[in-house]
């Protein structure tokens, strides 16, 4: 297991994440893992008791997790949102824009490459789940 990249200061959840089905069946879990086929909207009634949501990327080309992340952030979830699995350096910037603030890749990422990825885009064209101001808003500010 590679090093966890975490971009938040609060305390880490100390117990493992359960599946969405298990989470919906029990009331005490504070951490859940979303698989690509899960519907993130099922979690929306329970966001206040979640401190960690892991979104699994079994294969980096399966982009359902990007929507899952953004749906949670749009609903006001402000706990940790962690991308796990086949998380590669070239997807980090978009994941961050969709609201992920922690990354647990299967393979260790090169630190310089990670930094370059986050610094790559001077501007953004569209709104997402981060707080960046889109170009079209800046043009008419």
């Amino acid at each position: 297991m590679a090093e966890l990249l975490r971009y938040r200061d609060d305390e880490m959840v100390d117990h493992p994440a359960v599946t969405v089905d298990a989470f919906l069946d029990q009331s005490n879990a504070g951490a859940v893992r979303i698989e690509p086929g899960d519907d993130a909207r099922d979690l929306l009634p329970h966001l206040e008791r979640l401190a960690l949501v892991e979104v699994n990327f079994p294969a980096f080309g399966d982009g359902r997790g990007y929507s899952s992340a953004r749906i949670l952030r749009e609903a006001g979830y402000d706990g940790e949102l962690r991308a796990v699995g086949d998380v590669l350096v070239d997807q980090l910037a978009y994941m961050r824009r969709c609201g992920f603030d922690a990354f647990e890749p299967d393979q260790q990422l090169n630190k310089d490459d990670v930094q370059a990825a986050f610094e790559r885009w001077p501007e953004v064209y569209q709104s997402a789940a981060d707080d960046r101001t889109p170009i079209w808003t800046k043009r008419h500010a």
């Binding site: 980096f60 969709c98 501007e123 064209y125 569209q126």
Partner: protein, 544 residues
């Protein structure tokens, strides 16, 4: 024409550096080919049979002479002196080295061009009506809406790893010149009874293995909600589009399986939610973009007289020029379909000539047509003879727009690693045959489209006559289809019966045109006659 500001330029420049870094990591072995593949595809770089192919975006098919010159320079500097204009209004180069790709992107960025999202499972370069801004029948110029969607879809963080590629076309007239309903999303800008503009959304069309005509899922989306609605359409697709089978992953399958009504219902639900998320651009941005597409300064008293004393010129005028909204002007089509030539190919010299002619005669503007020709959109009728003379001397004067010689053909087995059969030689033999018999002119409008495999890049489903190349026990075999259309009378072609070999298919095309000549009534196109009399008379002539 749209011009980049410092923001657009910064984004394209950042992309060049990102790709340069990715290519370096690939060459150093830090990225596997599997990891690199979607990244290079999102920069238009394919690995074909013989070399890399680079597809350069020409947003909504519009470019100026400086850009066309740059495309010519790339053809000379990095390729073999030519390029191939594609059915999505782009250009591709067939003989590219991976080591050169980042330098080519850097050259492109100097003229406000790029290869962003010309491939890959993302939102592709957005296409539009090639006569936009010139057509007499348009409600408005559709390109500002295409440009707004270009910005929205560029580097979209949520929709860059979709189940499959995603193609959007935008038109703004009832006449469809962009195969709008054969796209993942087709948008028609319309005007309602109150005089307001809105966007009709057609979702789930496409060609490929399972051709589908997109149903309308919303007849009027207000323009100040255009991006939000598109975002909702994409989110529903990203959530539910199939990932288990790449042949069932396009949105057309989702819309078909859910039903258009249920898909529309889910989009509306998502749309209602998204409206609170603030994803819509300020309306002032649309207004800013519109200022780039204002009419050029047409001469108010431009003459409509054309000296038709030269019959070759008169034929070209009749065939290759189209009515313009301004008196005394026409849109002139430069055919890239010389008899026996490769459809859509142009040499660097031809590109430079077309660029210079656009500068001299068409307010410095060119368009790429999805039928793989080039348009000079705004030509004074008084200049047509000089234009034609220059084109004809360069081998660009073929008077065959929308005729049987104006063939759409995919690159086929001559280049493509997916193809089962060659397309280019079949196109060459057909245009030679009809030019030789002299029937091209008498057959009138006859759209012939050839694909070298079931993926249908040559739009064979939408041909009045379509040809599909297949592999039959190791031998190239060609199926014949009749009755398709990509226009406002959209329909999908049907297979006539058993296929033909590469000589037989040329004879078969001639045979069906003979049936048409025998059966046609006044004013009927081939397609009209087929629709009236049905498949049987054609089958009898082919197999009887």
């Amino acid at each position: 024409m749209y011009k980049y500001d410092q923001y657009d330029q910064a984004m394209v420049d950042a992309r060049v550096e990102e790709f340069r870094d990715q290519a370096r990591r690939r060459l150093e072995g830090k990225l596997t080919e599997d990891q690199f593949k979607p990244l290079r595809l999102m920069n238009g770089l394919y690995l074909q049979l013989h070399a890399y192919m680079l597809r350069v975006a020409i947003p909504y098919g519009t470019l100026d002479s400086r850009q066309m010159h740059a495309l010519a320079d790339i053809a000379d500097k990095y390729d073999r002196g030519y390029g191939h204009f594609t059915t999505r209004q782009n250009i591709q180069y067939n003989w590219i080295k991976l080591e050169d790709a980042a330098d080519i992107l850097a050259d492109l960025s100097k003229v406000e061009m790029h290869a962003i999202q010309t491939s890959g499972n993302c939102i592709r370069n957005i296409s539009s009506d090639h006569f936009a801004g010139a057509a007499a029948d348009e409600v408005v110029d559709p390109r500002p809406y295409a440009e707004l969607l270009r910005q929205w879809s560029s580097f979209h963080p949520e929709f860059s790893y979709l189940p499959r590629k995603f193609k959007i076309a935008v038109i703004a007239s009832d006449t469809d010149r962009a195969a709008m309903r054969l796209h993942d999303i087709g948008i028609q800008i319309v005007q309602n009874d109150a005089g307001d503009l809105g966007a009709a959304f057609y979702v789930g069309g496409g060609m490929g293995r399972t051709p589908m005509i997109a149903p309308c899922i919303n007849a009027f989306v207000p323009l100040d909600r255009l991006v939000t609605y598109a975002e909702a359409c994409l989110r529903v697709y990203n959530r539910y589009g199939r990932r288990d089978n790449k042949y069932k992953a396009r949105i057309k399958i989702l819309v078909h399986e859910l039903g258009a009504e249920e898909y529309a219902r889910q989009v509306e639900e998502e749309f209602a939610h998204m409206l609170d998320q603030g994803v819509e651009p300020p309306f002032a941005e649309l207004e800013r973009i519109r200022t780039f597409f204002e009419d050029p300064l047409f001469e108010a008293d431009a003459s409509s007289d054309i000296d038709r004393s030269d019959p070759d010129f008169a034929l070209w005028v009749d065939r290759n020029t189209v009515a313009h909204k301004a008196d005394g002007y026409a849109s002139a089509v430069i055919s890239l379909k010389p008899v026996g030539g490769i459809p859509g190919d142009a040499t660097a010299e031809q590109m430079r000539l077309m660029a210079d002619l656009a500068k001299d005669y068409s307010f410095d503007e060119l368009r790429v047509m999805h039928t793989q020709n080039i348009v000079l959109p705004h030509v004074r009728k008084a200049d047509l003879h000089a234009l034609w003379t220059a084109l004809d001397e360069a081998g660009l004067g073929a008077p065959n727009l929308d005729t049987v010689e104006d063939i759409i053909a995919c690159p086929g087995l001559d280049y493509c690693s997916l193809a089962n059969a060659r397309s280019i030689p079949v196109a060459q033999r057909i245009s030679e045959r009809f030019a030789k018999t002299g029937k091209t002119e008498t057959l009138g409008q006859l759209k012939l489209k050839i694909s070298g495999c079931i993926n249908a890049c040559g739009h064979h489903h939408a041909g009045h006559i379509g040809i599909l190349g297949v592999d039959r026990k190791g031998v190239e075999n060609y199926q014949l289809l009749l009755g398709g259309s990509e226009a406002e009378d959209v329909s999908l072609a049907k297979i006539t019966g058993p296929g033909f070999d590469e000589h037989g298919i040329v004879d078969a095309v001639e045979t069906v045109t003979t049936v048409y000549e025998r059966e046609r009534e006044d004013g009927e196109r081939f397609l009209d006659t087929y629709r009236r009399i049905g498949m049987n008379p054609f089958k009898e002539a082919l197999y009887g």
